[in-house]
C-alpha cells in the first residue's frame, strides 16, 4: 500500500482502484482512492460501490474498531474517520466535507444522503452513540457531542454545538444548539 499511496495521476488512481480492494473486509467496484489516503486495519473496513476517498483522508479502524461506508459515499480532503473501539458507519450517498473528524468509541452513524460541511467534528469527547438522521445537513464546523441523536432531514447551522437530541426536520443553531423552527 505504501508505494501505491503516493502514485500520481490517472495511473495512481487506476492502480489503487485495481489493487486496494483486496485489502478490505469488503470493497465495491469503482472506488476512487485519492493520494496519501491513510488506512489502518483495512480488514475491519467495508467500502461500498462508487465511494470516493479524497486525498489525505484517514480511515482508522484501530485494533478493535470497524468502519462501513455505503454506496456512493464521498469523504472530503483530509477528513478522518476514527473507530477506536466502536463502529463508524456512513450510509449510502452521504457526503462528508473536507477536514472533518468523526470519532467513535461506540456507534457513530451518519445517515443516508447526509451532508456534512467542512470542519465538522463528532464524538471527540465523551462516550455514547451518535446518530445523524437520513437527509440531514450539518453546516460548517458543527460539533456533535457524544450520545446525541439528530432526527431525519434536520438542519444544523454553522458553528453550532449539538449537545442534546434534535427532532426530525428541526432547524437548530447556536452553542448549545437550540431549535429555532421546523422545516415545512
Amino acid at each position: 500500500m505504501g508505494l501505491l499511496a503516493s502514485c500520481p495521476g490517472a495511473g495512481g488512481l487506476f492502480l489503487r482502484q485495481r489493487f486496494y480492494p483486496r485489502l478490505f473486509a469488503a470493497c465495491g467496484r469503482k472506488v476512487i482512492f485519492g493520494r496519501h489516503v491513510v488506512i489502518k486495519n483495512p480488514a475491519a473496513i467495508r467500502i461500498g460501490q462508487g465511494v470516493v476517498l479524497s486525498d489525505r483522508c484517514v480511515l482508522d479502524a484501530g485494533s478493535r474498531g470497524r468502519i462501513s461506508l455505503g454506496e456512493g459515499v464521498f469523504i472530503g480532503v483530509g477528513s478522518e474517520l476514527r473507530a477506536h473501539d466502536g463502529h463508524v458507519a456512513v450510509d449510502d450517498g452521504a457526503n462528508v466535507g473536507s477536514f472533518c473528524v468523526l470519532t467513535a468509541s461506540h456507534a457513530l452513524r451518519v445517515g443516508r444522503h447526509v451532508l456534512l460541511a467542512a470542519f465538522c467534528r463528532m464524538g471527540e469527547e465523551g462516550s455514547g452513540d451518535i446518530d445523524v438522521g437520513d437527509g440531514s445537513w450539518l453546516g460548517v464546523r458543527v460539533k456533535v457531542g457524544a450520545g446525541v441523536r439528530i432526527g431525519q432531514d434536520a438542519i444544523v447551522g454553522a458553528h453550532a454545538m449539538v449537545a442534546d437530541d434534535l427532532p426530525a426536520r428541526a432547524i437548530a443553531v447556536g452553542s448549545p444548539a437550540k431549535v429555532i423552527r421546523h422545516r415545512s
Partner: protein, 246 residues
C-alpha cells in the same frame, strides 16, 4: 446492488456519461487536447513530489506552460494539486505550500493569485464558478477551505488564519421529499474581503458577505452579514466586539 442517487461531487465524478479516463481528463485539464493532458500528467507525475529546492525549481520551469500565466519566482511545494491550470494565473513571488489544492472546477471558473501571496499547507481553493481573486501580499493559513460560486475577492495585504472557511455557497432545502444533498446550491452573491483584513483561525465567512478594509474577525467567529471597514467582530454570529473603538 441497487442504484443510489448521489448528489453534488459524486455526480460529477462517478455519474454515467464519459468513461473514467475522459472524466478524469476533464477534471484535471478541462477541454484541453490529449497532448496537453499527457504533458500535464507526465510533468506533474514526475515532478510533483520532488523534495527540496531542486523540486521547486524544476516545477517552476516545467509547470509554466500549464498555466494561464505564471510570474517569476513562484514557489510550488510538494504535492500541490492543480485542476484546470489553464484557468489559473499565479503572479510573481506566489508561494504555495505542501499539499495546496487549486481547483478551477467549472468552465467559467478562474483563479488568480496575486503577487507575493502565500497559501499555507493543505489549503484548498475550490472555484465552482466565476472568479476567485487572491490579492497581492495576501497570507492564507494552513488547512483553509475557500470556495466560491459567484466570485470571491480577497483584498491586498489581508491575512487569513488557519482552518478558515469561506463557504462560497449554501444549499436549498425547501423540498422535504428530496434530500438536501440532491437539491440545488444557493449563493447570495460574491464574497468580498477588503484590504488589510484579519480573519482569525477557524473563522467562517458565509456567501455574499462583504468585509470592509481593515476589519478584524476574531477566531472561531461566524460572519453571516457585512462587516463595515475598520470594525472588529466576534462570535457566532459575529457581532461588533464589546471593546471596539467604534
Amino acid at each position: 446492488m441497487g442504484h443510489v442517487e448521489t448528489g453534488g461531487i459524486q455526480k460529477e465524478l462517478v455519474g454515467s456519461g464519459q468513461g473514467a479516463l475522459g472524466k478524469y481528463r476533464t477534471v484535471v485539464v478541462g477541454r484541453a487536447g490529449m497532448g496537453a493532458f499527457l504533458f500535464f500528467e507526465i510533468v506533474t507525475g514526475l515532478l510533483g513530489a520532488l523534495p527540496g529546492g531542486v523540486g521547486a525549481v524544476l516545477r517552476r520551469v516545467a509547470y509554466r506552460p500549464l498555466f494561464r500565466s505564471m510570474g517569476p519566482e513562484v514557489r510550488i511545494s510538494r504535492n500541490v494539486v492543480f485542476r484546470r491550470p489553464g484557468a489559473i494565473a499565479l503572479a510573481a513571488g506566489v508561494t504555495l505550500r505542501d499539499g495546496v489544492v487549486l481547483d478551477a472546477k467549472a468552465e467559467s471558473s478562474e483563479i488568480h493569485v496575486g503577487a507575493d501571496a502565500e497559501l499555507g499547507a493543505g489549503t484548498i481553493l475550490s472555484c465552482n464558478g466565476e472568479r476567485m481573486d487572491i490579492g497581492e501580499g495576501v497570507s492564507v493559513g494552513a488547512s483553509c477551505r475557500l470556495g466560491c460560486l459567484k466570485g470571491l475577492e480577497v483584498g491586498r495585504g489581508t491575512r487569513l488564519g488557519d482552518c478558515v472557511c469561506i463557504s462560497g455557497a449554501g444549499h436549498a432545502y425547501d423540498r422535504l421529499d428530496v434530500p438536501i444533498i440532491l437539491q440545488s446550491l444557493t449563493c447570495k452573491g460574491k464574497t468580498t474581503i477588503g484590504q488589510n483584513v484579519r480573519v482569525g483561525d477557524e473563522a467562517t465567512v458565509l456567501d455574499g458577505v462583504t468585509i470592509g478594509d481593515g476589519a478584524v474577525v476574531a477566531p472561531r467567529s461566524l460572519v453571516n452579514r457585512d462587516v463595515p471597514p475598520g470594525a472588529r467582530v466576534q462570535g457566532v454570529p459575529a457581532e461588533p466586539a464589546a471593546d471596539a473603538a467604534g
